[in-house]
Amino acid sequence: MSFQVNQSSCDMPLSQSAIETAKIPYRSFCARAAAGFALAMSISFIGADKSYAAEHVIEMTAKDIADDGFGNKLLAYQMLSHRIDGLDVTDRYSNAPTIPGPIIELTEGDKVKLTLLNTIDPAYPVSGTSKQVSVHVHGVHYKILSDGTLRVINRKLDEGAGEGPEDTFASYEYEWDVAPGTAGTWPYHDHNYENHNGSEHKGLFGAIIVNPAATPRPQNAYKFSKEYVLYLGDDAFWGVEIDSTTKKQTKHGVNPTLNAPKNTDVRFHLIALGTDLHNFSLNNYKWFDPGTHNLINQVAIGPLEKHVFVIRSKNSTQYVDNNFSNKLLGMKGRFIVD
């Protein structure tokens, strides 16, 4: 309960003071309060059986990343720090900006405080009126000030880090309530860069995986040998492989070759993004359509939908998008079972 009070006390004055203090990282007070709160939480629960909700304190940034050789750059999120009840788990992430961005594993009942920085090169060409980045997350609960949108949408504030059309912040803190009923895989993405639609299609996207609270922890984390997050873009898959034991996230990038130990359960998290509609298949495999007992071998998926399925790794194959043009562009990757 104290968390809720804390949050609302942070929220209340913000929209009032934002205009006068536009150049100041306005959530520093809240951030300090949250850190103290987290510290208190972690101290008080040391040594306890962690079968209850955890608090995640996360710091991320957005950067421009290596160009295509001709000066055109993409944007990406980078994990700076992730503490779970004070325990530093930052080493599970890449120490560089990646596409997709960090995959954040949570459990129903958890709370998240995510501070976003903006370290995009000021010279990065912006075609719109906003140089502010944000994190707009799907699936979990949050109040309107954590929507990660511009004021023109939320009628409150430009909710991001950097220079927005109406409000400017050096950093911005989002609070997520990973409430019961939010289990599943959800995308997060920018909603503010360049204009009110954001620049998710330029690389500013990642995902959260919310495990159901009902599953005893930590066992559920070892249910799968590997997890793969595959974003279906307009010309390629952008993927990441997660080792379920070490939680290490690797193989970021385009059409990655995924590896799985033979005869183990692996979980695919598909999310689409961009303008195309897709038709995904993992050749020679079938899986349960989520939430049903229907076996399927392909799935139609559109931007920001998610589709999560589990298979038992048997044989090496390819994953592929059967969209006419994307298939011709070579939008596929290898799934190696060994």
Binding site: I144, D147, N154, T182, E200, D235, A236, P290, L304, L329
Partner: protein, 916 residues
């Protein structure tokens, strides 16, 4: 407002009676199914859109159509009276329907549907795309008894809901890139929310959404709310609505777990978001009224609207039809007004209303991009980062003229005048800023009195009005502009004071000017010239376009190839195979490449290659076809000897903005593909087997230079790219891709007063406004640029300077070289809004000095009694000249591959143009 509300109370009452009966009969286990009868009338709304009304002749048609709520097992009887000018049906995919016939105008048809499955169904008018203009609605079939849905509570519990639990319902149709809404109160009263509404509710209201789509697909996302995917236990917050018709109903508890706020809902396709496909779901704190905000109405504040107090909506249908590319659905009525408005692509509305676009009559992908707008206007520029299928919507509050185009097909024009009702005359610019306009190319504050503004306006009225085109077969030319007075900037044009009322545009009229084709060239060419007369209409197909084959030995039209059997759609550009027996032809508003037997004109194969293919060129090394996929992000390859695309070479690195290549060229050795990238404003040099060698920006960093066509030196040493909107020619090193020079094609033009002078000091007064194709002659002497502003500009490749300007017809577009009998080359130049071919001799005395280039003659592209045809020309004869191809293909690299039978007609120099 009262007449807007459709009362379904009577219907609800009837249902209650039925329910009583149902309860009464339950004990006897008799299935009691209700029969619902509705009188539907299809009507035309004030803005030209179509819609269904229920309840009598005077009832108002609404978009979406009335929502029909029934129970499983019920029967729905529809009596449809058609009061529109189009055939209208009543189709319900997913439900058994007794009748598939359509009601012709004035006729009535009856349809009986059996609601035997629960679910949400689209009903629609089934009239070949016209249903997207508003003839669509929802049928919701719920279980007879018990809960009809479940919602995800803030505590994670899944809670069943009955009809009686609901506080309100919304029907949201996703059509094009516009949301159309209806709100249904707890007691069943339906209120139209029209286009792009904001929805409202009070925290903890139980709200059921019925999201439906017709046409190209979408994903629906609502911020901060979760719901169940139908018939599963999966919780989602985004749902695909696939191409065609698709539906998704779900229930939420407003603000559950997240509280009050302005929560956005939107389509999550990037291009659709950019096209305006979003709204707000405002959750008021408890105690608030939770009202929705009505969007833009077809009855509202537009020219001839019936309810000026409400925000209005004008609509432009995106079409493959020549001149009517952005056609108002009330275009015929506008043309019929007594103001001599010859275009169907001009709309007039008042500040605060919106313009809606719907790609309802096209097989291609497009963008909806603002070309010019009143200085200081809100929501401008309007643009999308990729071409797509859908539509768009934008609210316009600043008075003045807005011109929209498609970046992929940049002569598609639609215009909206937002007129300040307080001023006399139609406002062409922003009254608050001296009626000035801004252009997408970065020109800001251009006076609407300037020569450039007037030229742009004239271009619009010519391009979109076939009656203003130059039809040489009639012998006279009339160019008529509207007789309405306009309000433009001050001097210099017409010596008007600031913000003055100008003469009507009709002051620019040309009346009964004589128009003669002109003489054919004295000297014959070699072989044939194939011209894509892309706008010519024939009787046997709906889509426009033929290919006109000119015999260069006698300059007559030998053949017309219409290909009615495939509904050949806007044939745009061509190439030929090694032995010149097959013509490859792209369909630019479609997804196909056609292979045609050159000798007979018969279709060999029609092949799907990708969205909006523009140009095709073979690799001279191995005869593979390279096809620029202008609506997408690559060059498709069809290996020689096959008829399917094997791969697409990407024109940009993964994840980067789609290049959308248009008129590419291939190096003479077949190792490089060079594309003008219209969406990224650069020239791309690619390996013929893949790999990006260079990306060279054009247009000196001006926004939207729009490189559109490539020419290459026969030894591949230099690349020339015409920048359509930058009015320039980029010269690029063929090996490194380095930019060598940018030749300004409008240096000699004063855009304010329209005067011409040799401002660039090159010794020639020459201007090329809106340059398009820019091939280099096979011998490498000259670049010939077809400029759509009506000029042919010739550049000497030795100096990379302009040496000559020659006249061309309006919409000058295509250029390509063919062999001249006895040596040398003709440049064949096509025009869209004229119907003759211009033949340019680049070096009449063949002395290597091209400064004496001249027009050798003209050829009418209208068919004659002796023309072989596969279909009958029905209108726009010989118009729409774009791609042009001379056979034999005499470019260096290809000419050497010709069989002897073709080589024998060429001189030694022509057979080996640079090695000779």
């Amino acid at each position: 407002m009262k007449e807007q509300i459709i009362k379904f109370n009577k219907h609800i009452a009837a249902m209650a009676v039925v329910m009583l009966f149902a309860v009464a009969f339950l004990s006897s286990s008799m299935a009691m199914a209700a029969v619902h009868s509705f009188n539907f009338t299809a009507k035309t709304l004030p803005n030209g859109q179509l819609g269904y009304a229920t309840g009598g002749a005077d009832a108002e048609a609404v978009i979406p159509g009335p929502a029909l709520f029934v129970k499983q097992g019920d029967t729905i009887q529809i009596t449809l009276t058609n009061n529109t000018a189009a055939d209208v049906g009543f189709s319900v995919p997913g439900l058994v329907n007794s009748n598939s016939a359509k009601a012709t105008p004035g006729q009535t048809q009856n349809y009986t549907l059996h609601a035997n499955k629960t679910g949400t169904y689209v009903y629609h008018g089934d009239n070949n795309g016209k249903e997207l203009l508003g003839l669509f609605g929802a049928i919701i079939v719920d279980k007879k008894n018990g809960p009809i849905d479940s919602f995800v509570n803030g505590d994670g519990s899944i809670v069943p809901v009955t009809q009686a639990d609901l506080d309100k319902q919304f029907v949201l149709f996703m059509v094009g890139s516009t949301f159309w809404g209806t709100e249904i109160s707890a007691d069943g009263v339906q209120k139209p929310l029209w286009a792009a509404p904001d929805l409202g509710a009070v925290e903890n209201d139980l709200v059921r959404f019925h999201v439906l789509a017709i046409g190209p697909g979408h994903t629906f996302h609502l911020h901060a709310h979760r719901w169940l995917k139908t018939d599963t236990t999966t919780i989602i917050d985004t749902k695909l609505l696939n191409d065609g018709t698709d539906t998704h109903s779900f229930t939420i508890k407003a603000g559950s777990g997240v509280g009050p706020g302005d929560w956005q809902f939107h389509c999550h396709l990037i291009a659709h978001m950019e096209a305006g496909m979003h709204g707000s779901f405002r959750v008021d704190p408890v105690g608030g009224d939770g009202h929705s905000v009505v969007g833009a109405s077809p009855y509202g504040n537009i020219l001839l609207g019936t309810r000026p107090s409400e925000p209005g909506l004008v609509t432009l249908e995106v079409s493959d039809e020549p001149a009517s590319w952005f056609r108002s659905p009330r275009g015929d009525a506008i043309v019929g007004l007594p103001f001599d408005i010859k275009t169907k692509s001009l709309e007039v509305m008042y500040p605060g209303s919106s313009v809606n676009f719907i790609m309802s009559d096209t097989n291609g992908v497009h963008t909806i991009s603002s070309l010019l707008w009143p200085s200081g206007a809100h929501h401008m520029p309007f643009n999308q980062s990729a071409a797509y299928r859908g539509g768009g919507i934008v609210k316009l509050t600043t008075p003045g003229l807005y011109v929209f185009t498609c970046k992929v097909h940049p002569y598609m024009f639609g215009a909206v005048i937002v007129d300040d009702p307080e001023t006399e005359g139609l406002d062409l610019g922003n009254p608050a800023m001296d009626y000035k306009i801004d252009l997408v190319t970065g020109i800001a504050g251009l006076p609407t009195s300037s020569d450039l503004a007037v030229r742009l306006l004239r271009t619009f009225f010519v391009a979109t009005s076939p009656s203003n085109w130059q039809d040489y077969s009639t012998g006279i030319w009339n160019l008529r502009f509207p007789t309405l007075p306009v309000r433009i900037s001050g001097a210099p044009f017409g010596n008007i004071e600031d913000g003055g009322l100008a003469l009507a545009l009709s002051a620019l009229n040309v009346i009964d000017a004589p128009l003669a084709v002109g003489a054919a060239p004295e000297k014959p060419g070699v072989g044939e010239v194939w011209v894509n007369t892309q706008f010519e209409k024939t009787a046997g197909k709906y889509k426009p376009g033929t290919t006109t084959v000119v015999d260069t030995t006698n300059w007559t039209v030998k053949r017309k190839v219409a290909l009615p059997e495939i509904n050949n759609n806007n044939p745009h550009n061509m190439w030929t195979n090694r032995d010149q027996s097959v013509i490859y032809q792209t369909q630019w508003f479609d997804t196909k490449l056609s292979m045609i037997n050159r000798e007979t004109g018969a279709l060999i194969k029609n092949i799907t290659v990708g969205n909006t293919p523009s140009h095709v060129v073979t690799l001279p090394s191995n005869d593979d076809l390279t096809i620029a996929i202008n609506g997408e992000n690559g060059v498709a390859i069809i290996p020689a000897g096959t008829t399917t695309v094997s791969k697409m070479l990407p024109t940009q690195a993964h994840g980067h903005t789609s290049a959308n290549p248009h008129g590419h060229w291939v190096s003479a050795d077949g190792t490089k593909i060079v594309t003008p990238n219209i969406n990224t404003n650069d020239i791309g040099i690619y390996g013929a087997t893949g790999g990006i060698h260079a990306r060279t920006p054009t247009g000196n960093n001006a926004p939207g230079a729009h490189p559109i066509a490539i020419g290459m030196m026969p030894d591949s040493s230099k690349i020339y790219a015409a920048n359509l909107l930058h009015h320039s020619l980029s010269v690029v090193d063929g090996a490194s891709g380095a930019l060598l020079k940018t030749i300004n094609l409008i240096a000699d033009y004063n855009p304010i007063d329209g005067s011409f002078a040799d401002n660039d000091g090159n010794g020639a007064i020459a201007v090329g406004v809106l340059p398009i194709q820019s091939p280099v002659s096979p011998d490498g002497k000259a670049v010939v640029i077809a400029a759509t502003g009506g000029q042919i500009v010739i550049v000497d490749t030795k100096t990379d300077k302009i040496v000559k300007m020659l006249p061309c017809d309006p919409g000058c577009h295509g250029a390509n070289f063919g062999a001249k009998e006895g040596g040398g080359y003709y440049a064949y130049v096509t025009t869209k809004f004229g119907n003759r071919l211009t033949v340019v001799d680049i070096d009449p005395d063949n002395n290597g000095d091209i400064s004496d280039a001249h027009i050798a003659g003209y050829v009418s592209l209208v068919d004659t009694a002796s023309t072989a045809k596969d279909d009958t020309v029905s209108s726009l004869p010989g118009f729409g000249g774009q791609g042009v191809l001379a056979v034999p293909n005499v470019y260096n690299g290809w000419v050497q591959n010709l069989p002897d039978v073709w080589k024998s007609g060429l001189t030694a120099a022509q057979r080996n143009p640079i090695g000779h």
